[in-house]
């Protein structure tokens, strides 16, 4: 469809649309800067009377949030890195090597998309419980070591890499693993970045798996901690909850702002 230039009312309309999505974020930030009495007294007054960071201080005091941030980063980084490490050889084998059962193997990788975490958490929990590995990073990271999307995207990207290039490397004496971890990565930089960011953001946000696999502060992640800030019984302190929410969402919004194209690439690819 051909794009038409924007009229003035159209522009205003579009800006209002953006507002539907941006205003809630703004409200979140504004709430986190208020005091509780202020919030209760005037629910609709947008600006805090004075700027306070009390809510942030309280959030950090009532919970080891710094530790949660660290845990979440370690987990998300670990998963993203591991997925790349495994997707490279797997994608390579599926794209460039000829062997019996290649089709089946590829089918198996894609079949994992049919078995979401929500279906496998019960037995996996049982497995880790038996190995006494619940509440460890292993339980958080290892079950996500393979990304069907990652394997698929690496395979797709490798399809367009000429075999001659790999042959040349082999003639130069490169072994298969050298090819996988030395020769291929530079050729796949955009794909790998997309994958890494996508995976990092997804697991940074993840609530379900850490919820079922962690039991205490040692490896508890940020989404769990922030959800716990909504303490029940004696009045929810919304300014503190929103302060936690800012801490939780700011990093992914920053990644989104800086690397929108790369993220979108992985997200749209994940469906087609």
């Amino acid at each position: 469809m051909k794009a038409r230039p924007l009229s003035v009312p159209g522009g205003i309309g579009l800006s209002l649309v953006a507002l539907v999505w941006l205003a809630p974020y703004a409200w979140m930030v504004l709430t986190s800067l208020k005091s509780l009495p202020e919030i209760v007294a005037a629910p609709l007054s947008p600006f805090p009377s004075t700027l306070r960071l009390d809510a942030y201080r309280a959030a950090f005091q009532s919970m080891p949030l710094a530790r949660y941030v660290w845990n979440t980063s370690v987990m998300a980084f670990g998963i993203a890195a591991l997925q790349l490490l495994l997707a490279l050889p797997a994608g390579y084998a599926l794209a460039k090597l000829r062997f019996k059962g290649r089709g089946v193997a590829f089918g198996l990788v894609l079949a994992t998309l049919l078995v979401p975490a929500q279906v496998r958490f019960v037995p996996t929990f049982g497995l880790f419980a038996e190995l006494r590995l619940t509440n460890t990073f292993t339980a958080l990271v290892l079950p996500f070591a393979v990304s069907a999307l990652g394997t698929f995207l690496v395979r797709q990207a490798l399809m367009s890499v000429p075999d001659a290039l790999l042959e040349a490397a082999r003639i130069d004496g490169a072994g298969e693993w050298t090819i996988v971890y030395r020769i291929l990565p530079p050729l796949l930089v955009p794909t790998l970045i997309s994958l890494f960011l996508f995976s990092f953001v997804f697991h940074w946000n993840d609530y379900f798996w850490p919820l079922v696999m962690t039991t205490d502060d040692r490896v508890r992640t940020l989404p769990l901690g922030v959800a716990l800030l909504r303490e029940q019984g004696t009045g929810v302190r919304w300014h503190i909850v929103m302060a936690g929410n800012v801490i939780l969402s700011a990093p992914v919004l920053a990644i989104f702002a800086l690397a929108q194209k790369r993220l979108l690439h992985a997200i749209t690819a994940s469906t087609s």
């Binding site: 009532s62 929990f125 590995l133 990271v141 039991t215 303490e231 019984g233 004696t234 929810v236």
Partner: protein, 432 residues
């Protein structure tokens, strides 16, 4: 000039990252636990707790007091959400053999945990156990509680009480209702409507199993018979629901149930504080919070009666988990002993509204004239003479959560016939 040492890459972190890349090493990061200077060289004991807000602050303050008062044990407290969440985490951790040394759990689950063999005996606590108020300890909390090994000690114990908005009640020249009929009349009288919308409900109460159990007792029944048969009160169980239905559906003088689990409790508190409910029933646990945050005088009162006076007890008991290392259990027990000393019992009770759990504490409070100055804090304590024990049943928790609670909400919202709902509930409760 030599490099400041922090400019050198800290080796531990380097290892951490490399191991992580290998995908296996993340567990090693458990080693970088932030260490409080206080905890150095001491026996640590982990404590899982499940309070939010004000009550959490009071508990953390007492934990800190303990950690400063001696130098052998360091108690590390971990917040686990509300009772239900905390209980889920606890049982799951026990299954994975990764539980804490100490936690506190609701009474309904203690028999189940005890029979599953995961609770440590607490006889080593010594004489303190005899100073506990009988209604609040294991003896009085469960039918025949003292015939089982001692596995629980009272921590935060409560009964439901009524809270009145002092301003509204004074204005109307009213005092606390003493019977169901009085409560119903008063609730109707105090309800305000404007243009078809209810701006103030006369009465508020979480539609929760605990308050239902109070009503069942007042209607002359028992949730479980003394022989352990879970009858859900029979006709009394139905009368209890019927009372709520009249208030919600017929009179419109009580707010329909909102939200689940502790959301509903939270909502009731907020309605009371905002003047949207003239009188509520909730736990004595919120006394201090409600008094502090209300812009009107808060008057606490005992629950009314119908056939008789009756209240269940609620709140939690300390339990020691068998799976923890022995040294940690000894350390945890030292903390429980500390918490049962009069000073802590009193500060906990005054800071929250929970009932002081030992005789010395009650005596000290009476002698100092505390209860004369704060009559509200006597209400739950006085109600203990009407307290009814829970059955020592391993199924009670499931009966509560899976069988009764959903049907209560359903019935009070007027969906489904109460009699059939409860006939089904009774069948499930007995069969399961």
């Amino acid at each position: 000039m030599p490099l400041p040492s922090r400019h050198r890459a800290p080796p531990a972190r380097d290892v951490g990252r490399r191991e992580l890349l290998l995908g296996a090493g993340a567990a090693a990061l458990g080693g970088c636990e932030p260490v409080s200077p206080l905890s150095r060289g001491r026996q640590q004991a982990s404590l899982w707790f499940t309070y939010g807000g004000r009550n959490r602050e009071v508990l953390e303050h007492l934990v800190q007091r303990f950690n400063h008062a001696q130098s052998a044990v360091y108690v590390k407290s971990v917040f686990q959400g509300d009772y239900y969440e905390g209980l889920a985490k606890l049982r799951v951790a026990l299954a994975a053999n990764a539980g804490p040394a100490l936690s506190h759990v609701v009474g309904e689950i203690v028999p189940y945990l005890a029979e599953a063999g995961v609770l440590e005996r607490l006889d080593a606590i010594g004489a303190v156990a005899h100073h506990v108020l009988p209604e609040l300890g294991q003896r009085g909390s469960w039918v025949g509680g003292d015939t089982h090994p001692l596995v629980s000690l009272p921590f935060n114990r409560s009964t439901p009480i009524a809270y009145l908005n002092g301003a509204i009640f004074e204005q109307g020249g009213l005092s606390a209702p003493r019977s169901w009929d009085e409560l119903r009349d008063m609730a109707r009288l105090l309800t305000r409507r404007e243009r078809g919308r209810t701006t103030r409900y006369g009465f508020g109460c979480p539609v929760d199993w605990w308050f239902w159990a109070a009503l069942v007792g007042q209607a002359g029944g028992h949730v479980a018979e003394p022989n352990g048969d879970i009858t859900l009160g029979g006709e009394a169980g139905l009368r209890a629901v019927d009372f709520w239905q009249k208030l919600v559906l017929e009179d419109g003088s009580m707010k329909p149930p909102a939200g689940r689990d502790y959301n509903a409790w939270e909502q009731t508190n907020q309605d009371f504080l905002a003047g949207r409910a003239a009188m509520i029933w909730t736990s004595t646990a919120f006394l201090s919070y409600l008094e502090k945050n209300a812009r009107f005088p808060v008057v606490a009162a005992p629950l009314p009666m119908r056939e008789r006076h009756a209240v269940p007890t609620g709140g939690t008991h300390w339990v020691l988990l068998k799976s923890a290392p022995p040294a940690e259990k000894v350390a945890a027990l030292a903390f429980v002993r500390f918490m049962l000393e009069p000073a802590q019992v009193i500060d906990w009770a005054n800071g929250t509204g929970y009932i002081p759990v030992t005789q010395q504490a009650v005596l000290a409070l009476s002698e100092s004239g505390h209860f004369t100055r704060h009559p509200n804090q006597r209400v739950a304590l006085d109600q203990l003479k009407f307290a009814e024990p829970w059955p020592w049943s391993t199924r009670l928790f499931r009966v509560q959560r899976e069988i009764v609670q959903p049907r209560l909400e359903q019935a009070v919202l007027g969906r489904g016939r109460t009699r059939e709902l409860f006939a089904e509930a009774r069948r499930l409760a007995r069969a399961d």
